[in-house]
């Protein structure tokens, strides 16, 4: 336990001091990895722990991003940058979850996908949300003595939030609540027979995951300074799903690792060849075929064992 704690602390410190050693581009890559890592971890809470595979998780990423954009343009404080996006994403997750958790398996996948596409359709057509072009020129958060317009302060703010998100999710999956989720994943009827209000647990997991995804969306808006309807596209959820799988489902560290692998692969391959989508696609196909436990599974030498 102690070596792991030290390793994690070293990782956080390493990420925090990274800008001292690396140039602008690697730092931007790390920041993207952190944001997508938060998003992927939140999806893994649903997938890896509660067994709910969602292709609509981008709905909460997008809601967080849009609410942050609108609010930050009014006033760049903590409420705009974090609280409002998180609350809005939680509310959206409550509404979508209320309908979606009633079904399971493929129906759940399709229903969540359709809900996120609804957001896409609305933002694509509503003029005051910028329609196709989205919202641009969004300022970063400036509060609590932070001026995130400063690159270094923004970086530390991101590293800090990623660490907090990881810690919160880690506490959640290790709590009794997390064990109930795993129980539901393993055998839902049995958990129901044991007297657990299964749907309430699933809905709560859905809302927590949605809230964290909303924070990731807000951070993404602050990183790039804009948000477009594409954030809602079902392929955005698909990419997060791939990150979770690359890393290995049911391991939060794996999601972060998967996000890193995805973004590094994308940037590495795209710097050598225009054909990065082809290579990315091929990599995923081969990964699913030959490394079903993901990177973490392969590292642990447990390839082939699936829950």
């Amino acid at each position: 336990m102690i070596p792991r704690g030290i390793a994690i602390a070293a990782l956080i410190v390493g990420a925090a001091v990274f800008p001292a050693f690396a140039g602008k581009y690697p730092v931007k890559l790390l920041q993207e990895i952190l944001i997508w890592g938060i998003f992927a971890m939140s999806l893994d809470l649903l997938m890896g722990y509660a067994g709910m595979v969602s292709l609509g998780h981008s709905a909460f990423f997008g809601v967080g991003g849009y609410v942050a954009a609108l609010a930050l343009l009014k006033s760049p404080d903590v409420v705009s940058g974090l609280l409002l996006p998180a609350a809005a994403a939680a509310l959206a997750a409550l509404a979508i979850g209320f309908f979606s958790i009633r079904v399971s398996g493929v129906y759940f996948i399709m229903l969540t996908l359709a809900f996120s596409q609804m957001f896409y359709a609305v933002t694509f057509q509503v003029a005051w949300l910028g329609a196709e072009d989205g919202i641009v020129g969004v300022p970063r958060l400036a509060a609590l003595g932070l001026d995130t317009a400063q690159p270094l302060q923004f970086h530390l703010y991101l590293v800090g939030l990623a660490a907090v998100a990881a810690l919160c999710l880690w506490r959640i999956v290790r709590s009794p609540f997390g064990h109930v989720l795993r129980g539901i994943h393993e055998n839902e009827p049995r958990m129901e027979a044991l007297g657990y209000a299964v749907n309430r647990y699933k809905l709560l997991a859905f809302v927590i995951a949605g809230t964290v995804a909303g924070v990731a969306g807000s951070l993404y808006t602050q990183l790039v300074g804009s948000i477009t309807p594409d954030a809602f596209l079902w392929t955005t959820s698909g990419e997060a799903l791939l990150m979770v799988i690359i890393g290995g489902t049911g391991t939060l560290a794996g999601s972060m690792l998967g996000a890193a692998a995805f973004i590094l692969l994308q940037s590495l391959v795209s710097s050598y060849t225009e054909r990065w989508m082809l290579i990315l696609g091929l990599t995923f196909v081969l990964l699913v075929l030959f490394a079903p436990g993901g990177l973490v599974g392969a590292l642990r030498g447990r390839v082939g064992i699936r829950s």
Partner: protein
């Protein structure tokens, strides 16, 4: 009566889009029903069909030849994909299949960009249907009338094939209970490959058909997948009849939405789906949920 005319013209537009969706979704629903695979790459087969058609027309100058050959090409690709990628995954959960077919979307989209370039290409309609016809005062492109007729004929042919032939009986048995079918001595492996290739071929066929109306572009595969999935969900997973009825409903909803409620047109098909699912969670013709 311009209003009635408009109504009529829109209904024909909706019908031609609907039969296109039917050709696409019937493969998706059969593959799901039989193989238990949600093939996210189904739209990619549609795209491949459009591009194969484009090339065949450029090479031969004959639309009809392309219409016949492109589905065969896409069907062959389907055979390769089923044998090499999906077969090892049948015993695993649905997640791996979702991910693998998602990876295929990237792969095919980029492959198409590589071979044909990224710009929008239009497929010329065949000479026979390049004009327009006037029906009770409404002017409609004659190609759309051909699409409607072709789609409806295909619906009848598919219905006969699946409901009235031995092959259809095998497919229905497989959709209903593939273990039982295997127990009856049916070579389920070969039927699986066949159904997948058949579904892929139908998607390819709809890609060629759609070419003169919607043109060919690399993202078309990922874009068309969502309405096709909605059709399958509305109609009921694994149901041929559901696929037809769902396609006609979604085709009309989308077309009328675009014409009458342009501000909310993209939302309408989702609202239709939500409404159906609220009333019948298993879809209009789906089997009851477990």
């Amino acid at each position: 009566m311009p209003f009635v005319l408009d109504l009529f013209a829109q209904a024909l537009n909706g019908l031609s889009y609907g039969v296109l969706l039917f050709l696409l979704s019937v493969g998706l629903t059969l593959i799901f029903g039989m193989l238990d695979v949600v093939n996210l790459a189904h739209g990619s087969f549609y795209m491949l069909g459009a591009y194969a058609g484009l090339t065949l027309i450029a090479a031969t100058g004959n639309f009809w030849l392309a219409l016949a050959a492109a589905p065969l090409v896409v069907g062959m690709i389907g055979v390769v994909i089923e044998r090499s990628c999906l077969r090892p995954l049948y015993w695993r959960g649905p997640l791996d299949q979702v991910l693998l077919t998602f990876g295929l979307i990237y792969l095919f989209e980029d492959l198409v960009k590589w071979i044909w370039g990224g710009r929008i290409r239009s497929i010329p309609p065949p000479d026979l249907f390049s004009g327009s016809v006037t029906l009770w005062g409404a002017t409609v492109p004659s190609y759309r009338m051909f699409v409607i007729a072709f789609g409806l004929v295909m619906a009848v042919v598919l219905w006969l094939l699946i409901e009235r032939t031995r092959l259809g009986a095998i497919i229905r048995a497989g959709v209903f209970d593939s273990e039982m079918a295997a127990g009856m001595g049916i070579n389920v492996d070969r039927v699986f490959t066949g159904v997948f290739a058949f579904g892929a071929g139908l998607a390819g066929l709809s890609g060629v058909i759609a070419g003169p109306i919607q043109s060919a572009q690399p993202p078309m595969g990922a874009t068309i997948l969502v309405p096709a999935l909605i059709v399958v969900v509305v109609g009921g997973l694994g149901s041929l009849k559901g696929s037809l009825v769902g396609s006609l409903i979604i085709g009309q909803a989308e077309t009328f939405g675009k014409a009458w409620l342009p501000g909310a047109s993209m939302l309408i098909i989702y609202l239709v789906m939500a409404l159906v699912l609220l009333l019948r969670p298993q879809g209009l013709f789906g089997r009851a949920l477990k």
